[in-house]
Each structure stands twice: as C-alpha cells, then as structure tokens.
Amino acid sequence: MTRDFPYRELGTLSDPEQHLSALAISGRDTERLLRQLRDMLLIRRVEEKIGDMVTAGMIVCPCHLGIGQEAVAVGVSEHLRATDRVFGAHRSHSHYLALGGGVYPLLAEVLGKLDGCSKGMGGSMHLHDPAHGLLGTVPIVAGTVSLAVGAALAARKDGGDSLAVAYFGDGAAEEGVVHEAMNLAAAWRLPVLFVCENNLFSSHLHISLRQPSDRVARFAEAHRMSAMTIDGNDLLAVSDATASLVAGIRRGEGPAFLEALTYRWRGHVGPREDLDVGVNRGSDLALWKRRDPIRRLADALREAESLQEETWQAMDRAVLEEVETAWRRADAAPYPDESALLDWVYAGGAAK
C-alpha cells in the first residue's frame, strides 16, 4: 500500500525504472573503483551469509539486512578518516564494514561471541569499532543522531577538522530528536554530516503513508544547512556529494545533510524478501533489483574493460572465502563468561 501524496519531490530518483545504466566512470581512478566494488561485494556477501544463517537457525538475534544499499556506506566512508566519529542504527552492517571493520568480529558479534566487536554483548544491532571510527550503532530509531552531534561538538573542542557522521533512515526523520539534533548542529555550526538513507520504507510502511513528501532533505533545508539528495545506488553520486559536503564541513561551514535514495531488498528484519509483501513492495522490488549498485559499477568497469569476467569471479570467490573462513572461526569461538552480565554494567566491573 502506498498512497498518492501531495509532494512527490524525488523525481526520477524514486523511480526504479530510471537510473539503471552503468555508471559513468571515465576519468575516475580505476584502482579505487575496483576496491570499492570489492567493498560493496564484501558487504553483500556478508549480509547474504548472515541471512542464510538466520534461515538456518544458526543466528538468533534480529538482523536487519541492507542488501541493495551498499553504495551509500562505501561512498561515504571513502571521505572519512579514522579520527572521524561515526554512529549508525539497526541496519548498520554496511556502515561497519565500509569503515574497515573486520568480518570476523562482525560475525562473532552476531553470534554473541566474546571476540565480537562488542564482545558479544550486542549482536547485529549493536556494533562498536572505535579503531575504525565507529563509535556505535544501536536499534532505538534515531537514538544515536544526537550522540553524533555531541561527537561533533567534541571534534570542535579537540580542534582540527575531524567530523562526526550520523547514519539514519527516512523513518528516523519522523522522530523529534532528529530535528532537535539538526537544530543544535545548525545553531552551533558543528562539524557533523547527517546521512539519511532514504529507502522509502520504515519497516512495512512506504514514506507516502508517513510523511507529506518523499524528500527528507527538506528538513535539513529548514535548518538552513547544506543538503544534497542523490541516487544512493550510484556509488559515484554518493562519493561526489559526500566529498563536497565533507569538504565544507571540514572548512568549518557547519553541518551538512546527505540524502541517499536507495532500496532494501530484504524484509525489514531477517532474510526474507517477502516479509513486507503485505504492503506491496513485491512488484517494486523486482525493479529495484535491476538498479543494483554493485552491478552498475561492475558493468561500468566491464564496459571500460577494467574488469575481466575472471577477475570478477576471482574477486567474488575471494570474498566468499573470506566470509566463510570468518564464519567458521566465529562459529567455533567462545561465548563471554557469565560474569560479563554484571561486570560490564559499570566501568571497573561488578565489584564497584
């Protein structure tokens, strides 16, 4: 069920029958594109594996897969440094991996193992990898957006030109705290990049059933910050927009907002494609799969003869092998000790 609503403002960006062609990569650094292709592929294969293992009953914790949305995190992360501070939400495997987080700690985390990036205390919905700049992802919708603004405040106090990133969704934009956070960032001119992955859905509900317009960046404009709305399935568009917004932030021009239009291929939670079918995602989904961000980059590289079929196959095999190896290790890894339950409530352990 979607609805005719007064302000359909995304134009072709929300039309799955547009923006299907291979990306225009001429003049771009091929090495980098190949690396980014691999990054996207890795994210996809990891999430597919997670999906399979949920189906198999090996993974119990709720997993929100972002398959189809890989270009956003990869395109954004390209412009971040380890000193930048990133926050995510419930659908953040891609944010974690694109920043350089390891596959093994992710899978171990999803299994609740001690080697997990959150020591097994969080599962899929709570990822933590400060070494790569990821301060945290948690599943309360919009819960980390104001935290990112605080990290931006910290960055300004530190001096230098580090920034903070808040990833959130079109649904999260309905939480009041996002608007408070945007106002704080704008009033205080803080170095924070708001990245809204607009996948048109908040669980089963299309944005037309939740907001008067489909374009989320209008809120950022109201807060008088630089905002761009782009095709989130186009790695180059994400990357270019991020480059320009991040440069402005690092120059001290205050917060900026990136709206990346994309689409998730699986249900809201778990691996099933048909979970949300009751709300007619069914027909659109097939179309959106043709707007695959990975295929569009791979096609471009192929057309430019920068990617041979066998290189592609080898890349995929290597990725799959990496994922499988990590999975086997994670599966065999130990759980946290029972004492973890009380020891990590307060700093310094249960004794205190």
């Binding site: 097994g120 919905m125 939480e175 509900l205 059933l209 907001q211 009751g278 339950l341």
Partner: protein, 330 residues
C-alpha cells in the same frame, strides 16, 4: 466458552471495543503489518478500516500526545507501542500530561486514553529491545497500570482499561501470546473494581507475580506441590493503584513471601510488594524473611549463555520457595 490464546484474546478485546464503542480507535506502529504485534491485531485494519486502525510514523511522542488530545474530545484512543523500550520517547505525553491532566484541571476532564506497551524480549534482542518498566509507571499517580497474566484478563482487562475514564497503561508480554484458555463471553467490568487476585490458595508460602511471572508462579506452585509444599499464588493484575490486601491476607496465612517480578530489582515492583507486606504483617506472623526474584540489575544481554542466566526460570522460583520454607522456623 471460546478457546483463545493470550494473543487472540487481546484481538478479541479490540474487536469487542471496536464493535460496540464507536469512540474507540487505535494508533500505533505496525498495525498494518502482518508481523509487528504477533497475533494480537491480525487484520483489524481490514475489518475496521484504516481510519480506526491507524498505522503511524515513527513518532512515539506525538502519537501518544495525539491520543491524549483525542481522548479529551470524547474519544477512547488506544496507542500501541510494540515495545516498552520505544515508549521512552513518549514519557512527557504519558507522565507529564495524561497522568496529571485530571488533577491539574480540578477533575473537570479526564484523558480516557489507553496506552498499550508490549514487553518483547528474549531472542537475543538486547538492552534496548527487552525492557519491562512497569515499576516506573506504578510510581506515577494518575496512571492506572494493568498487567494481565491470563488470556481472560488479556481480553477483559483491555476492555476495562479502554472503557475506564482514566489514562491506563496496559502492558502485555509476548512470551504469553500462545497461552490458551477457554473464555466465557465478554462482560464489561469497571477497571476500578479490578485488583490483585488469589489464583491458588496455599498454606506454606505466598508467591506473588504479575503477567508472565504469574504463570511462572503457577507452574512453580505445581512443582512445589510435588515436593509437598503448598504455595499460594497472588496475581497482581493491576499494579497502580496497587491494592495489597489480597497479598497481605495470604502472607498472614502462609507466613512466607516470595515476590517474583519480570523487571529490575532496585525500586522495582517486587520490592514494593515486600514493603507493603512488611508494613502490614506483624513480624511475629512471619515464618521467614520475605524474598524477591527479579532480573539482576543489569541491562538485557544478547549472548545466549547470558540470556539464559538473565531471566528468572520456573526452577529458580521453585528453588527459592523451597529454600524459604526450609529456613529454620522460628
């Protein structure tokens, strides 16, 4: 008699309310989804239309406030929060506005709103998707708080909550949804008359529970009976305002109290039960120190082995109760 489970009993309550009370409507997240609130609201949108079953943006605060506002205009809205955890965004509407409205305006208006908060935990969901904060709400004057433990109560207390003129927080627990029972036809009863009930009498110890822990207490009472221990079970049902008389009466008889609660320990509901008993039952009538079983004072973990030790099991109740009975009689 109709066979229902706890989930379908909730659905039956919605149907009764929507059929007979045109001023009832529902706002909440996931009401048009097949999977959001278990089997407790299946297809209500199709049966009653999307104007009365309103799925909503992710705006807990405004949705709750809107329901409060509509309740001041003659409606009886129900707001559904698929998890108590999400409701933390709605504290102002619930606690500053709804709970205080009648008092603030000199009893001239009453927000007849029902807030349904679902406890949904386990399954490695972790700290932000597992909370049971009923003790908080029992602390708030003006807010009635209801925690049904049986399919019959799941249905009838929801109806009573919605028909009550006060703001009511109705808390149901997804761990109970499959519990079955034979239910008589609906009779509308005023919520004001509802309170804790002795579900099972006994002479050695009083077990007090609410919602899921009541069912655990009943199971534990069976286990204790096998060991020759006669346990009474009191189901709290309505925890604010809390009428402690049935608990006190039972403890006077058994001399022992084990309060079992699905929330945290400090300043929790089990502590309140102990306090009520301690204030009222003369020490000479007590055969053992009162005790409580609660969650440990820690956020919910995700990891399997930690989840296992985090939640109270029926065996824990049996063991604790048996220990209390064994304690040197005085």
């Amino acid at each position: 008699m109709t066979r229902m489970n706890y989930g379908t009993a909730i659905r039956a309550a919605f149907m009764h309310l929507l059929d007979h009370h045109p001023e009832v409507f529902v706002i909440g997240q996931g009401l048009w989804a097949k999977w959001y609130v278990g089997n407790s609201m299946t297809d209500l949108d199709k049966l009653y239309g999307v104007d009365r079953i309103m799925d909503s943006p992710v705006s807990e605060s405004a949705c709750t406030g809107a329901a409060v506002g509509a309740s001041l205009c003659g409606y009886r809205p129900i707001v559904v929060h698929p998890r108590v955890d999400f409701m933390l965004y709605a504290m102002d509407a619930m606690v500053n506005q709804a709970a205080k409205w009648s008092h603030m305006v000199g009893g001239q208006a009453h927000p007849a709103v029902t807030i349904r908060g679902i406890v949904n935990r386990g399954g490695e969901q972790g700290a932000q998707h597992s909370q049971a904060l009923h003790a908080w709400f029992a602390h708030v004057p003006g807010l009635r708080v209801v925690m049904p433990a049986t399919p019959a109560d799941a249905r009838d207390l929801l109806i009573a909550s919605v028909l009550c003129d006060d703001p009511v927080l109705y808390i149901d627990d997804r761990w109970l949804y499959d519990l079955e029972d034979d239910l008589p036809p609906v009779v509308e009863r005023p919520l004001e008359l509802e309170g804790p009930e002795l579900l099972r009498d006994g002479s050695d110890i009083t077990l007090v529970g609410s919602s899921y822990t009541t069912q655990q207490c009943l199971a534990a009472a069976n286990g204790l009976a096998e060991r020759g221990i006669s346990a009474a079970v009191v189901d709290l049902r309505v925890i604010n305002p809390l009428r402690a008389e049935p608990i006190i009466a039972s403890v006077r008889k058994t001399g022992r109290l084990l309060a079992v609660d699905g929330g945290w320990r400090t300043c929790g509901l089990a502590g309140e039960v102990i306090a009520r008993v301690a204030e009222a039952v003369h020490p000479a009538e007590l055969r053992a120190l009162p005790r409580r079983l609660t969650l440990p004072d820690a956020p919910a973990p995700t990891s399997k082995p930690l989840e296992r030790i985090y939640y109270t099991l029926v065996d824990d109740i049996v063991t604790a109760a048996a220990d209390l009975v064994k304690e040197a009689a005085r």
